[in-house]
Structures are given as C-alpha cells and as structure tokens.
Amino acid sequence: MKAFAALFAALDGTTRTTAKLAALAQYFRTAPEADRLWTIALLSGRRPKRSVNATELCTWAAEAAHLPLWLFEESYAIAGDLAETIALILPPPTTTTDRSLTETITLLTSLTGKPPEVRRAAILTAWSELAPTERFLFNKLLTGGFRMGVSQGLMTRALATATGVDEPTIAHRLMGDWSPLTTTFAALTAGSDDTGAGSRPYPFALAAQLEGTPDALGDPADWNAEWKWDGIRGQLVHRTGAFALWSRGEELVTDRFPEFAPLADFLPQGTVIDGEILAWGAGKPLPFAQLQPRIGRKTVPKKLLLDAPARLLAYDLLEEDGLDRRPLPYAQRRARLAALIDRLPPTLPLGLSPDIPFTDWAELTRLRTTSRSGMAEGLMLKRASSPYHLGRKRGDWWKWKIDPWSVDAVMIYAQSGHGRRANLFTDFTFALRDGNDLVPFTKAYSGLTDAEFAEITRWVGKNTLERFGPVRRVTPELVFEIAFEGIQASPRHKSGIALRFPRMARWRRDKGVDEIDTLDSLRALLNAAQG
C-alpha cells in the first residue's frame, strides 16, 4: 500500500495537471505489475467486491477509537467522507505492514462471506498496521468510490507516456468489463490497436454544449442535425461470440433490455452501433421516467416490457464487418448505418435516429423549438466530415438543448454536502405553494457558486428551525429559480410530480416567499408536457 499511498499523496497534493501526469507515469513505470493493473482499475471506477458494509465499518471504527457511535456519526457528518472519518478518528497505528495494493485487495476479497467476527478482526488488524493515508485508501477500497482527481483522459495519457502505446489504443483497451482478475497489464497496454476482442466497446464520442446560435458554425451544408433524445446513451456490440449493450457509464446493460436479443440474429457479426435507448410507444419515445425502472433492477418484469418496450435509435456506426469505421467521415458512417438498418426486418426494435433536413440556421432554430412535441430535448449538430472522436473534442459535435422549464420555489430543508462540499450546506429541498401550505416537490444540489453556498451555509446556521440528523428545517425565506428538463406524474412524490435534472438556475434575492409559484402552475406544465 505504501507505493499506492505515495501516488495518492502526490496526486492529491497538487492541482497541476503536469505534476499529476508525471506522478502517474512514474508509478506506471515502477510499481509492481499487478499493482499497476489494480490502480488502473480503481481509477477507472472498477473496484473489488465489497466485503463489509458501511454500518459495520462505523461500528467497528467507533469501538476501535473508544468513541460512542453518535460521536462517530457527528464526525462523519462534518468530514463528509466515511473512509476519511475512520482514518482520522482511529488511534495511530501500532505496527506496520509491507502488504502491496494487490495483496491488500486479495485479503479483502477473501473476507467476502466470512462471519462478521472474522471480518471484524481482519479489518481491525489492518487498521492498526496502516499509516493515516494508507488507512484512508484502505477504507476507500472497502467503501468503494475512488476519486483521486484523475480523469480517465489523464490516466490514459499517463499510461501512454509510460508504455509508449498511443492514447486512442489505450483508451479503447480500457473500455468494457475487464477486471484485474481477468486480464494483465501487458494485455491492456501492449501491441497495436484492433477492433477489440469480445464485447469491448469503443470510447464514446461526446458533444460540447452549444451556447447561443449555430451561426458561427459556418455553412449549414457542412452539418447534419438530429434530435437530441432523452434516453440512455448505448453502444451495441455484436461480434463473434459476443452480443452486448453498454451504457455510456460503461455498464453492461444487455440483460435489462431483453427485447434487443433478436438483434443478434439479424445484425452481421463485427457490428458496433452507437445510439440512444428509449422507451417506445405509438411510434414515438416515451418519457425518460418510463425507462428508469429498468436501471435499478437485474431482471425486467413482463409488465414493464409490455408497457414501455425499449427501442434503440441508432446514430452512428463504429464498426462494420469487423473493421473500425471511426476514422471515416460522419456522412459516410451514416450512409453505411442507414443501409445496414434498411436491410433489417422493420419489426426489430432498432431504427435510425432520423436526420433533420434544413437549409439554413434560421430554419433549424425554428425546428429546435418543436423539440418537446417530438419528445426530444433539443438538437445535435454533427459536422459531416468529422471522424468519430475519442471522448469530448470541441468543434465537430454540438448539443443544442432547448431552454429548460423553470419555477420559483422556496427552500425548506438544507443538508450538508459530501466530499468537496463537506461542511457546506449544498443539498436543498424546495417547496411550492399549494393553498396555504408549502409542498416539497424537488431537491437540487447544483447551480450556485461556492460563494453563494458559503453565504447560504451561514444563513442556515442562523435560520434553523429543527434538526433531523444532518438535515435542517429552515425558515421558508430563500427563493430560487429551479430549472429542469422534464416533468412526469409520480405517485411516489408528495407533490405528485417528479422533475428531470432539477437544479438551481439562480438565487432570487429579489423575491420573497409570497412570490413563489404554485403547485397548480407545475401541474399545468405537466399537462402541457403530456398533451
């Protein structure tokens, strides 16, 4: 753990990208191979199986520190990070260990399924052997969720620097469901690029947000437009022996969408399609909320398949006949994609995300305002000559979203944030007026500056009416404009309404609680959205 802890300290101790890159590259050159592999896995969001749960950790840590559990929990609420809280409150280590990162993970994996007293003893022993930073990282292995301020792109660059393999190859190799248990460092980094073995997806190309109008993009003839769908970005991979659907978060979601299984019989092998997974009804997309029940579960009930069948609207062709087509111009990839889909039976749940013909930007600007009636959240603009980029490259792909809806609402609960936002009230619950009552209708966490959060934090301190653990009920006084992308009827919410992507568009210091919107006005938006 020492080398890994030193890497972490180097990464955490700087905000300079060059310094982070150097520290990572150095580590990838010198650390034991197994540790390198695990480090890549951890930094790209893969983690060992959980062997203990958070409740056990809290209890054991409080015992080891001879502190009452409530005081541990108060400390956790302030520090905002379980792994850090435990690392800080435990007494100093009594001994040391030279166990490597990989050996530590092996130890943790071996604890899975063991009786609590065995796991407890092993964890307490490990805590007593580790220095504070190592202990923090050890706890992160236990709790999951590594965030070291290293983006996937930065890690890719560091690996490329350390191994001499080019970045696109590395980026592609890191995709998919590999695990340190099933691959080696050499397999991840050696050799030249290929289309990828088995079900491995390609890195998703990402669009940048277009601010203002597209006039600056030049000649409209150089551009293609499509609707921007509000579904799940997905990559469908069909190769010899492999049929897989990947989400944008590199999660394998094949089993959640059993209706796509017949595609394996019709799509040629060596085909990879990028598209949007949507719930589909009566020839058009259903609201995103209809897709949501699929996300959290392993098996999909029949009713859901009937009520909200999924459809993949394809927008790009990445691999064809086993050949990597990403370098081809977008227009050519689209033509090939269209031809491919044309050859398939029309009953399959796969369609082409249609091109929107337009002659000038003014016409497209008008079309954009009709997005909502087609269940889209705006437009995508793609340069006809552009390759399928690695990640987000500004200039060739733009998303041009419609303006969000908004309502003015009052804050009624505040909760402190976690991690970077620990000790700052950042998580708020908002209410609208319903007759004489205030009805909570949404939470929001983002959209304000750090200075505004700091100011609100001081305000919350002085205006707390009640405390429920980390949550404060506050005087209903601060008014915010809440922007959101979508609206849905929801029997699970007290207000009967669920919002999509709610956030604070601005703090309305000019408005008082008497001037907030009513629940009825939100219901009217809901009716308009459904009509």
Binding site: G13, T14, L71, S75, I78, D81, G419, R421, N423, A454
Partner: protein, 337 residues
C-alpha cells in the same frame, strides 16, 4: 449570591467586578484574552490585557484607553480577584482567572496546548468552572506534533525552490504567520504581505525572536524572488496581489486542512494542518487538567462536544457567543478570497 460569571448578550459578565470578558458589544470595562478581532473589538471604555498582547491590540484598535498586566499578576476588581495565564494561542494570549472567596472560574479565550516556541506556553489553571472554546471539538481533529508539520512545510518550500518557483502560504496575519516564520528551518528569503509584516514588526519590537522578513513591494515578483517563501493572509491567496508570483505553489496552513473536503473546496493542492487551537485530545486534556466540574463551551462544535463532556461526567453547558469568526472553515474566508 449571584454567579461569579454570567452570560449576557454583550458578552461574559462578572457582576461582582462589573467587567466583561471579550465582549462583542461596547461596554465600559473589558478584559481581553487576546488580540484577534473576534475577541478584541472596538468601542469599549477601558481595556485590560497582558503586557504582551497590548501592542497588537493598540495597533488594531487605534486610540483606546488600555492597560497591561503581567502573566500571573493578581488584580482586585470590585469584590473579585483576576489574573491572566498563558493560553498558548498567539503571542500575549491569556486565559482569564476570576476568583471570589475561593471560588474560581476560568475563561479560556482561544488556546492551544502544544508549545509552539513563540507564544507563551499554555498552563492549566485549576478552577471550579471552565469556560472553554471547542473550535475543533470533534475526534477527527488530531494534530501531528509541530516539528513534524514544520518539517513538511520546509520540504515543500525546498521542493518548490528546487523547481525555481516561489511558495506562497496562507496564514492568519497575527499569530499563525509568525509561528510559521519562527518554526520553519531557514532556507531562503521570507517575503510578507503588508498585513503580516505590520504585526511581525510589532512583535519583533516586543522582543519575540523572529527571522528577517521582507515586505512585498512594487516590482517584487516570481522573477526577482524565485525561491522565496511568501507568507500572506488567506484572503490574499489567488488574489490579484498574489498574481505577481504567477508560477508559485500555493498552500494554506490551518487546522481545517485536516479535512480533505475543505482543502479541495479551496482548490488547493497543498494544505498544512497547523492550528492555533487545541485539537480533540488537547481540549480533553486541558479540561481534565483544570479539575473543573462545570464546563461551558463557547464556540466551535458546541453541541456534540457538550454532549461528550456530559457523558464524561461533567456538568456541561453551551454558551452562545460571537467568537469563532477569526478562523472559520473556508465558508467565511472564501468570501473575501
């Protein structure tokens, strides 16, 4: 008989001596624990503090009617006897002891139990009732020995100097700044922001041993001083003032740096955990050492700390005060940064 000390909306009050301790609204007579702005405020009729604290307080508050007292010296005020005892917080800082007929109450002001080599070292004062701060009254706050942290800061400075870039460290201009310059092994020029330099000059004139420092003036920048350590108030970090050292590495020295989230919120790579307040163990040992049965907590994590003390068998209460604005989490300092 009235309580020896009472808690009013103007501050801690002694009815039998008719004086206030660290009041936050104007009063006729104020006993002041130390010169930080949340304890030594403007507008009082008469000020009393240690001889060592007086120069900084005069500098900060201007033309005031004030007198000094030696540590340990007793003074009769009305029906009570008062004395000042080292708090180890900053140079000149004191705990104030108030006695009446054998009953002793002590007001801690802000304090730190570890000796830092500059401030007069904390001494426990036996008492019946102890009014204590608890800025860092949670067990996640445990400081490393000062020598270790100073060595870390020295190593950071040396590493930056080797790369030919200045090191800027944010530290409160009275206390923390001088503690750093006195504690870090000398290895190059120490530059100071004007606010730091003024206080440093006053303390140096009082006889506190501080290394030579250079006030940053027009024309001084990363080119002229590529290996300097620059000490500036936290609010100067990332400001236009700091931009002259464009390639400098910035760090912040504060107890709050113990929490990773707070450090990251300030977008700082480097944070050194250096506090002028007692940590969790320091608070607990200081309270134990007074032998007090009654403990009042004034500012910091008062709610959990009071409960903890009650569970340890103390008769513990919370007193609402206006202290603690000097070293708030990033929340307040950030607004000015």
């Amino acid at each position: 008989m009235a309580a020896l000390l009472t808690f009013t909306d103007r501050g801690i009050y002694c009815p039998d001596g008719d004086f206030f301790i660290d009041p936050w609204r104007p009063v006729p007579r104020a006993l002041i624990t130390h010169g930080h702005s949340d304890h030594a405020r403007r507008g009082h009729g008469q000020y009393l503090c240690t001889h060592q604290a007086l120069p900084v307080i005069r500098h900060r508050l201007g033309d005031i009617s004030a007198s000094g007292i030696a540590y340990g010296e007793t003074l009769r005020i009305g029906a009570v006897t008062v004395s000042f005892h080292p708090a180890g917080h900053v140079p000149g800082s004191a705990q104030i002891r108030v006695e009446r007929g054998g009953e002793v109450w002590v007001v801690s002001g802000d304090y730190k139990t570890e000796a830092d080599g500059l401030a007069e070292a904390f001494t426990p004062v036996p008492c019946h009732a102890f009014i204590t701060e608890c800025t860092f009254g949670l067990p996640v706050f445990r400081w490393q020995p000062q020598a270790q942290v100073m060595a870390e800061i020295s190593a950071w400075w040396a590493a930056n100097a080797a790369l030919g870039r200045p090191s800027i460290i944010g530290a409160y201009s009275f206390g923390k700044a001088q503690r750093l310059m006195a504690g870090i092994a000398p290895q190059g020029p120490i530059l100071t922001h004007g606010a730091v330099e003024e206080t440093t000059a006053i303390l140096r004139a009082q006889g506190y041993v501080l290394p030579a420092t250079i006030r940053v003036t027009q024309g001084m920048d990363a080119k002229s001083h590529p290996t300097a350590l620059v000490i500036a108030p936290p609010s100067a970090l990332g400001s236009a003032w700091a931009r002259r050292f464009h390639n400098a590495d910035e760090a912040f020295a504060s107890g709050w740096m113990a929490l990773r989230g707070i450090r990251r919120r300030r977008a700082l790579g480097t944070g050194f955990v250096v506090s002028d307040h007692a940590d969790w163990d320091g608070l607990n040992s200081a309270i134990r050492a007074t032998g007090a049965e009654r403990v009042f907590v004034t500012h910091g994590y008062t709610t959990p700390f009071r409960r903890w003390l009650a569970e340890q068998g103390y008769d513990a209460g919370i007193v609402e005060t206006a202290y603690g604005e000097e070293e708030e989490p990033a929340a307040t300092t950030e607004a000015t940064a």
